[in-house]
């Protein structure tokens, strides 16, 4: 099928097998920040935002993003100008092995789009779909709080 999709703000056209998994498609197109941790929609490392909603790309077909807006971690910031979430994750020591981090930061970004001042409980709920085995989540929650504050102040 012909796929029209906006990836990281760029309108793109592809010819794809609609039954291909979104995860496989994105990785094959070079969006390697999308990680595969379980292939069953439970670990959250493959999370991308589709029209600002965090979804698990390992259990989605590429056809499902027709005419939609996809955001991967590559579209969020750059090392020179990181997104506040990325900067705060780094500052707080919230990144250990880092494998879950792109998905987690995207979930946090989706949360902050709809709720710029989340409580700790709301952060836990919003990021509940992203498993991390390294950190114990303490520093990630702190990082999201800090980033939310910075983003509120910047706006």
């Amino acid at each position: 099928m012909e796929l029209n999709v906006t990836i990281n703000g760029e309108d793109r056209e592809f010819f794809v097998d609609p039954g291909m998994l979104l995860l496989d498609f994105l990785r094959s197109e070079g969006y390697l920040g999308v990680k595969n941790g379980c292939s069953e929609g439970t670990c959250g490392s493959c999370t991308v935002l589709v029209d600002d909603k965090p979804l698990k790309s390992c259990i989605m077909f590429v056809g499902q993003v027709q005419n939609k807006k996809v955001l991967t971690i590559e579209g969020l910031g750059t090392p020179e100008k990181p997104h506040p979430l990325q900067d705060e994750f780094v500052e707080e020591g919230a990144v250990q092995c880092g494998f879950c981090i792109p998905g987690m930061i995207l979930s946090a970004n989706a949360l902050l789009i709809t709720n710029p001042d989340p409580t700790e409980e709301e952060i836990k709920e919003g990021l509940d779909g992203n498993l991390c085995r390294c950190t114990g989540y303490v520093k990630q929650i702190k990082a999201v709080k800090n980033a939310a504050k910075r983003m509120r102040e910047e706006n």
């Binding site: 020591g93 250990q96 880092g98 085995r133 989540y137």
Partner: protein, 783 residues
Amino acid sequence: MTETPFKGKVVKTSVRKKDSMALSQGMPLYVADLDIKPLIAKVLRSPHAHAKIISIDAGEAEALEGVHCVLTHKNTPRNFHTTAGQGFPEPSPYDSVVLDNKVRFVGDRVAAVAADTKEIALQALKLIKVEYEVLDAVFDPEKARDPDAPQIHDEEEAHMPIPVFYEKGSNHVSHTDFAFGDIDKELENSDYTFERRYDTQYAQHTPIEPHVCMAYFDDQDYNIDQESGPRVTVRTSTQVPFHARRITAQALGIKEKNIRVIKPRIGGAFGTKQEVLLEQLTTLLALRSKKPVLLEFTRKEEFISSRTRHPYTVWLRSGVMKDGKITAIELKVLSNTGAYGSHGLTVMSNAGSKSLPLYHMNAVGFIGDTVYTNLPVPGAYRGYGATQACYGMEVLISEMAEKIGMDPAEFRQINHIQEGEGSPVFKALGEGTEGVEQTIKSCKLDDCIEQGMAEIDWKNKRSKPGDDPVKKRGLGMAMLMQGSAIPKIDMASAYAKMNDDGSFNLQVGAADLGTGSDTVIAQIFAEVLDIKADDVIVYSSDTDLTPFDVGAYASSTTYLSGYAAKLTAEKIKKQILQVGAKMLETDIGELYLEDKKVCQHNGGSLTFSQVCKFALYAEDQFQIQATASHVSDESPPPFAAHFAEVEVDTETGLVKVIKYVAAVDCGTPINPKLAEGQTEGAVMNGISYALTEEYIFNDKGKMLNPSFNDYRIFSMADMPEMKTILVESYEPTGPFGAKSVSEISINGPMPAIANAIYDAVGVRLYKAPFTPERVLNALKENK
């Protein structure tokens, strides 16, 4: 004995972890992110728990279009080795080959395929015809040594590479025991005695990135003469690049020079990636097909066919006097090592060596046995056997305190090991053989207990289950120790050179698993030279380009690899001072380093850049560079006191952890935020292990819950309030006073939560995990 806490400029600051910005940007730094289009490898797995392969026919699979190589036991080298990923010679039995003519658990490997796509590889697996002769299997470790139990390793070649107990005929992998003092007599003379049994379960590390390995041909690999044979680069998610190279070479019967192992960024490990499991197959598939090959475990394979934690049955006998004196403790362990003996001996030994030295007692004994069963294969897992033993030990300690009417915190305070003391256990239990005697030089357990008690509000909240008729609250604690590296065995080394701008390249064999060791090692190096951690460019874990290091296990990296980096920096410092003295025409004694400069006491100074350029381009030219290796004579334990507050729902049996406090003495925390992160991660894994994580098997030995849906690890919503307290001490044998921190805190939650459940509802749990069903049953029995 205690020295004052270390105060550094770079050490003890939470500098940003070097790789964390790149990782938060999603940069392609992991094994599978390499810009190569590889063949995809898939492994055929055994449907039987124990069977002989009567015949195997890969003809149709080989003929399938897109298939490049099929491996079975018929076309692979039969070199016995252990996959344990330990130093040489290993204290684990050589009971594995690349592919065998026998399978020993459901999920054991039978054949491997490399094909153009995943779909073709999976289709090819279906075309491999295997005829099995199904054999009797044994799943119960208590029956594994029975005379009529099937012999799991009946192959002649299986053997122990070191001279220790190994009786494969009776599935008896290892045995060790010792006793100091007369245990029976001490128990006879005790005011109270105890005999208890505790069982722990199969559990998995679940790194979010499953095992993954890519073998390919790099430009450098062609730079070898034809007689030597082809050379392959193996980019793999390993904790032990150098052991992985050695063991892959051994298994395939090729030379180490034909293999280069690189560990890039890896997505978590926790012990399971110490195992050399994928490298043999991936390397051989690449060599045979002459194409790059990628082998990635699925989550299901990660559960069933990688490695797990050894399930234990622990029997404890102990005695106590009314005044709080512990008379004797005897710890007996039966460890189930599944179908292969990886880490079977040393994990079991650690049960004693990382728990018994914690307490004073008149007599102490240990009896440890490890057996084969036809179940998935345990290996190294954070805590390394101490975790399982700690559960029983720390529950029993609280029970003993209760019996004599003493606060369990006070009972621990009056009985724990102190600075300046040793334990006969250190000498008795080593890496499969005798251990190393040591005296504790740093121990802040008293402070850990006091600060932890204050944070959890122990005095006010303990033994107050509350007025709610259904939900009861309780507090529990546990005291812990681990080690820092394997003494007189583990070796780490580092190399560094100076650059024109006064920066340094630091090459270490150490393996950063996400822990931040690259950063921590850079901080130690920078501290010596009074530069910023940013001025140290770390390159690690590449067998072609970095010097040897045993790798990341046994809580060794900060303590051991950090020390090698410190020694290297000290050598460099001397060279810088020598060049500086020549340039300034003065004596070395007149000079010191400060802020990336060589300074004179009278005010003159040179930048590091000037010094380096002088050395490279001006006079008596040479490269300012150094290398150093380090082996430790001892393994100083980090210590910790953990406290849990729980709420038990007496109607549903659900246990909720409300608050968790971990007070840890890890010596000097080189990077406090990263040390906290190690503690928080270990605690969270430990809580999840205590409450939910468990393999469920059917009666044929098949694991029934190999997915995150059915094997639940804790997510953010499950978190309690968590507080980490770093209680600083100064360990004189460590770099700037540091000891280890990464493993110890996984040992605390299971006993601390069990003790808290008792405080809340008055039942003791002797089998983990503490699921609602087990808690409810215990409550019913208690009525």
